[in-house]
């Protein structure tokens, strides 16, 4: 996730530097509406999802963060998380033609399959809140990475706290 944010930020910085006059940087181009997937297909290749790094960077820049955090074994949203998600919802509502993959993660102190379930609980709670802020269901999809994608590699409270999270990933 850090890599995509850096790319987006570099692009914005360049365009700012190039503008001597006070014109705003160009908005990232909006993609075409997504093609519908065949719900009956059992071909694994029918499921690919396309991330949109430039728009991801724009979400982070405008909403403050694409990530909210959770307590151990918890999936409830605190006030800071709700404020972040409210800002994400505003961004989504003003950015048509993209969807969000709401992705829940767990830290390494749970067993593998339980953590897959816990990640889904976190993503689901996040999606429910975004829905309450007006984002329609057909623009969101929920997933869980369990403990498979930690961002912090330590085996300590600080690292674990960074890994218990839900990330809003902008997709086509």
């Amino acid at each position: 996730m850090n890599k995509t944010i850096l790319i987006g930020m570099t692009a914005v910085a360049l365009s700012l530097g190039a503008c001597a006059r006070k014109t705003p940087p160009p908005e990232p181009a909006l993609p075409e509406a997504p093609a519908p997937a065949d719900p009956n297909s059992t071909d694994p290749n029918s499921l690919e999802v396309v991330e949109l790094p430039a728009l991801q960077a724009d979400l982070v820049a405008k909403a403050g963060s694409d990530t909210i955090y959770f307590g151990t074994d918890e999936y409830s949203l605190d006030e800071a998380s709700k404020a972040t998600l409210a800002a994400q919802a505003r961004w989504l509502l003003s950015t048509p033609n993209v969807r969000a993959s709401i992705e829940g993660h767990a830290d390494e102190r749970g067993t593998r399959e339980y953590n897959q379930a816990l990640g889904e609980r976190r993503a689901n709670a996040t999606r429910d809140f975004l829905r309450s802020q007006g984002v329609p269901d057909n623009r969101m999809t929920v997933t869980s990475w369990g403990k498979e994608r930690p961002v912090a590699t330590g085996s300590n409270e600080e690292a674990w706290a960074q890994n218990r999270r839900a990330v809003t990933v902008i997709i086509r």
């Binding site: 719900p39 694994p44 399959e113 897959q116 889904e120 997933t143």
Partner: protein, 430 residues
């Protein structure tokens, strides 16, 4: 001959001292089951591959933890004719209790016969013999079959050495981990990869005949259960559509697959025919119900659920009826696996560290088998005598596969080329 056998005696003593004898901590099941039976395995005559065959037999017998195998180096050779008729007094003088002999000869169809004899040296008689017909490239199978013959006859247990392990090979740092499905013989040989590492993959499990796998792959950013035919490489999504599915396991008949599906903040266990069709829902309690594992008669399923507030083990009929809790030991219980012999359930116990334990299938009789920081994900050998799992070290260091004897004793590391997790032990190879 005498001089060589005298060296053999010294070899037995020093081998015994060199054995890894990690002392078990008090809470582990008491004592090693080593019976220190000294078994000689000289080079098998008849074909140059005979030395490697004998080496694999020695390695297999050592891995059981029950024997002190000797050779093939340092042992006197013998002829094909002598395989069934060894000089028992000489072996007795060398302090050897048992002898594995045999020979290799070509067959008219181009394959070879590996003949395997087990002798009781003390009693001075043959205990058993069997011949195995294999292609020359399959000599390892014959060696494992011979070691299984010896192990089964001397331990009274069913065989387990001629098996494979499917697992997840892991490379890279924790925050950029590459995972691939890997398949190897259970002594670490013939390791090969079934996926290329583009998608994160977890929890591969064998079908009862060992010809198919179910596993979870993150495709399109979601975990999905895939069903793979090992020989052809063909695979399909188990459940079509946009669902989060994971924790798959075959029923003992191979006809059905149990799995978890997560939806709207709730995870339940479903069952679906392996040939396709509508899944049937087995659990519906609020909470995370996952890690289903069938009893060997296919009539019951053990699973974990946090419906009581913490992860605990439950048993139900395979149609979802009669769900009852079986774990009451303090701490949390996860990833249960029903023994192929039906009497025990292995699990991951979380009480600070993660440890592998077993309990009686009806609950109770809990015994903790391991002492790592994060030992997780037990899988049974087909004879119910060993459990394989993965161990994550605290801090730096790769995750690795280990096998521990269920009767008590140290966990042994499995030889994988890189890190490994989520092992699944195959049935006995045909």
């Amino acid at each position: 001959m005498r001089k060589i056998l005298t060296l053999l005696l010294a070899g037995i003593a020093s081998t015994a001292i060199a054995q890894d004898t990690q002392e078990p901590t008090p809470e582990l099941v008491g004592g090693s089951v080593k019976s220190n039976v000294a078994i000689a395995v000289p080079v098998m005559p008849g074909d140059p591959v005979g030395r490697q065959v004998s080496e694999v037999i020695v390695s297999d017998l050592r891995s059981t933890g029950l024997f002190t195998p000797l050779g093939p180096g340092g042992l006197p050779g013998y002829s094909v004719e002598e395989a069934g008729n060894p000089a028992y007094p000489s072996w007795r003088n060398a302090g050897v209790s048992a002898l594995v002999s045999g020979y290799i000869e070509p067959r008219p169809d181009g394959r070879m016969t590996v003949a395997c004899y087990l002798h009781d040296v003390t009693a001075g008689r043959e205990l058993t013999h069997q011949g195995f017909a294999v292609t020359s490239s399959d000599w390892r199978r014959a060696a494992h079959k011979c070691a299984d013959l010896v192990y089964a006859r001397l331990s009274g247990q069913q065989p387990y050495l001629d098996t494979r392990v499917v697992y997840v090979a892991e490379t890279g740092p924790k925050n950029n981990r590459q995972k691939r499905i890997a398949l190897m013989d259970s002594d670490g040989s013939n390791n090969r990869y079934l996926t290329v590492g583009r998608n994160t993959v977890v929890t591969p499990r064998f079908s009862p005949r060992g010809d198919k796998l179910v596993y979870v792959s993150y495709i399109g950013r979601k975990p999905r259960v895939l069903l793979l035919d090992v020989a052809s490489g063909q695979e399909r999504l188990l459940i079509p559509g946009n669902h989060i599915t994971f924790a798959p396991r075959f029923s003992p008949s191979g006809r059905d697959i149990a799995f978890s599906m997560a939806e709207n903040g709730n995870t339940d266990i479903y069952i679906v025919s392996a040939s396709g069709g509508q899944p049937r829902r087995l659990t519906s309690a609020p909470g995370a119900d996952t890690s289903p594992s069938f009893s060997p008669d296919g009539r019951q399923i053990v699973f974990e659920s946090d419906r009581s507030g913490t992860q605990q083990l439950y048993v139900m009929s395979s149609d979802g009826g009669g769900q009852r809790r079986i774990s009451f030991g303090g701490g949390r219980y996860a990833s249960p696996a029903w023994s192929p012999t039906g009497n025990l359930i292995a699990f991951t116990k979380i009480a600070g560290p993660f440890r592998i334990g077993v309990m009686n299938a009806g609950g109770g009789g809990e015994r903790i088998l391991t002492d790592g920081w994060q030992d997780e994900g037990p899988s049974w050998a087909p004879n119910g005598q060993f459990v394989m799992f993965h161990r994550t070290p605290q801090g730096a260091g790769a995750v690795r596969l280990y096998a521990v004897p269920v009767g008590g004793g140290s966990a042994r590391i499995m030889p994988t080329p890189v890190g490994g997790s989520d092992p699944s032990w195959s049935p006995i190879n045909n």
